[in-house]
């Protein structure tokens, strides 16, 4: 890989957390590191605070549903996109979450911007972020049931769009 900043980050990560890295993928200089869920917080803290790497900007968090995708064991994934202003370098960190245990550590203590992004993923996928200060729905009505971005949720919904039991006045 002709990508010194990315390679440096990867090498440091490999040296510091040899047991927590499951897979590394590179596509057109975009590096994605799949890690064990348990190591998430310590790896993130390391990437953020390391003097050389300084991935101090959490650009986005996304949820993925891998239902019926061949070759993927776990149902859900949470992907974090980090950016280092210091090195002009991007890094994606990916963790899998199984249907049986939907919880994952919140990165809110490290980046305040994770607040609403984690709420959004909770809202639409039902993934529980442990340690989040107020894990409530953010887009859907508070009394909504289910998580509609899951691939087994029908696109037309379950009749919620034609329920009009609104209060009078």
């Amino acid at each position: 890989m002709d990508y010194p900043e990315g390679n440096q980050a990867l090498a440091k990560l490999r040296a510091t957390f040899p047991d927590s890295i499951i897979e590394v993928k590179e596509f057109r200089r975009d590096i994605t590191v799949t890690i064990k869920k348990e190591a998430l917080l310590s790896i993130m803290q390391f990437l953020r605070d390391d003097e050389e790497l300084r991935f101090n900007y959490l650009a986005s968090i996304s949820g993925v549903d891998y239902l019926k995708i061949e070759g993927v064991e776990n149902r859900f994934a949470v992907v974090y996109h980090l950016y280092s202003f210091k090195n002009n370098c991007r890094l994606a960190i990916k963790t899998f979450v199984t249907e049986g245990s939907l919880d994952i550590d919140s990165v809110y203590p490290l980046w305040k911007t994770a607040d609403w992004q984690e709420r959004e993923i909770y809202d639409l996928f039902g993934i529980i972020f442990k340690g989040h200060p107020a894990l409530k729905r953010v887009f859907l009505p508070e009394d909504y049931e289910g998580h509609p971005l899951r691939k087994d949720y029908s696109l037309e919904g379950r009749g919620e769009r034609s329920r009009f039991d609104y209060e009078e006045g």
Binding site: L140, P141, P148, E156, E160, S162, F164, Y166, E167
Partner: protein
Amino acid sequence: MGLESRLGDNILTTVADKFINWGRKNSLWPLTFGTACCGIELMSSIASRYDISRFGAEVIRFSPRQADLLVVAGRIVIKMGPVLKKIYDQMLEPKWVMALGACATSGGVFDTYGVIQGIDQFIPVDVYVPGCPPRPEDILNGLLKLQKKIERDTVLPQER
């Protein structure tokens, strides 16, 4: 012109219905409930180029208590439904509703769990303006259609 000739030059006689409807249809105060792209088209119909004030509907009110035409411009999602209903309920009679664009009319291309497939399922709609988005000419045409409708109203109590 028997009676009017006796009243002098400054007084005209007419039918109460016609007079009141003439006033109402030419001074509609719209509340613009713009929730999506159609709202942008609505703004340009209000601005100087298309100038909705040529038809007497330029006094935009954001308080439902002062408005008599509710223009729903855009998709209404399940979370917005109760809000729209509340605003409609707060408007004083007489009031009219325009469903602007495919989304407000029928959900448009958004056949999804969150988008209500037509606002007429929970509030009465007087005029539907088709298009995605409708051009300002269409919006003005919709306004004229509504004015035609108001002309046929009657203010006297009806036996039903």
